[in-house]
Symmetry: none
Subunit: 225 residues, 2 copies
């Protein structure tokens, strides 16, 4: 999942970036509203964490313009102002959630997860395909008795594939979802990760099918040729 963090506070910025990265998100960071606004005109994200008190262009404006462009990406607003009025104002503009500083990291993570889920998988922390149940919180796959743990990358990859299940996902798309801009990765890395994931997944009744030249798609295993 690709996340944009718009925050000017140095410490908070680094801390959050690090945390979300560790969780398997591809995180891009912008430190001011103008850059963020510009970036958002052409780059898509799965979720945006937006501070209100920003230099150059405040969070309200960034959000307003984003929605003005018809973009419905989930936005979670961070604010030092515990002012109720501001909260309401933010929600009116189309924020999906807000969190007042100071907050606990765990809570932010939980809410971000919730936002993403709400958008893509109908509200459940678990998404499934075939006999496979994937818990996005614990990053574990299960089928009946069998449980297996996935690394952050593997989990992110599987999550994407399940969300787009039965549709072709190009390597470029995968790359885009697994990587933020500063960390660049070759398509070979995608291939390697697919390989690793497959090795773990071959226990289940699903497979990552290769569509040569196009990408990969998750499908139910068929016992045919």
């Amino acid at each position: 999942m690709r996340l944009l963090l718009v925050e000017d506070d140095l410490i908070l910025k680094d801390g959050l970036e690090r945390s979300f990265t560790k969780l398997g998100y591809a995180v891009d960071v912008m430190a001011d509203g103008e850059s963020a606004n510009q970036l958002l005109t052409y780059q898509e994200y799965d979720v945006i964490v937006l501070d209100l008190g920003l230099p150059k262009l405040n969070g309200f404006e960034v959000l307003k313009r984003l929605r003005g462009r018809g973009n419905n990406t989930p936005v979670l607003i961070l604010t030092a102002l515990e002012d109720i009025q501001n909260r309401v104002k933010g929600l009116d503009l189309g924020a999906d959630d807000y969190l007042a500083k100071p907050f606990e990291l765990a809570e932010l993570e939980a809410r971000v997860r919730a936002l993403i889920r709400r958008g893509v998988s109908g509200g459940s922390a678990k998404i499934s395909f075939g006999d496979l149940v994937f818990d996005t919180t614990s990053r574990q796959c299960m089928v009946n008795e069998v449980t297996l743990s996935l690394s952050a990358r593997e989990a992110a990859l599987l999550e994407l594939l399940i969300l787009k299940a039965t549709k072709v996902v190009s390597k470029a798309k995968i790359l885009e979802h697994l990587c933020s801009w500063d960390e660049e990765m070759s398509e070979n890395a995608v291939e390697v990760n697919v390989s690793r994931l497959r090795k773990k997944l071959n226990v289940f009744d699903i497979e990552i099918r290769t569509i040569r030249g196009l990408g990969y798609l998750l499908a139910k295993l068929e016992t045919t040729s």
Copy 2:
């Protein structure tokens, strides 16, 4: 599917040509409006990707003249100008879609596919014939439970046959659709590809019938025996 790309930017040109070729399109490239215009007087395409900022004769002119000749080939306009007026102008001239630079390759591909579909099969990503459903996006065929994957060539061939279903398609026509100019191919290649496709298709209730001396046609299987 045969695609004409009219683009003068070297990098973009090469990148797009490569991408669409990989996707199974037969791609021809022209770098200026005049050549493109001339080419279009006698060569048919399934879709045209047209840059507006072209040397010699701009995209508007190319499009205008094309439509002036009564040619309805779907045209997707690329433009660096994000000017709404220009967009409207383009649409008035009969462009079928437009895409502002910078754009994502994936999006361009999706729109080109959409244009082709819109033109020939009424908007679905899937086209079907008999019990066969062919997903042009993932290059997979299905009948009930059975799924089979096709290579790029096989997919392109099947797509053409389904679109012209029950009508005879000559080898020359097939050749024209599978190949761009720089890559030439013998009719034997068509025969071989038909053979390969048949081998995969014989699971289903349709067949590629040979019309000696004329070409091939897709038809429902008859239980002759």
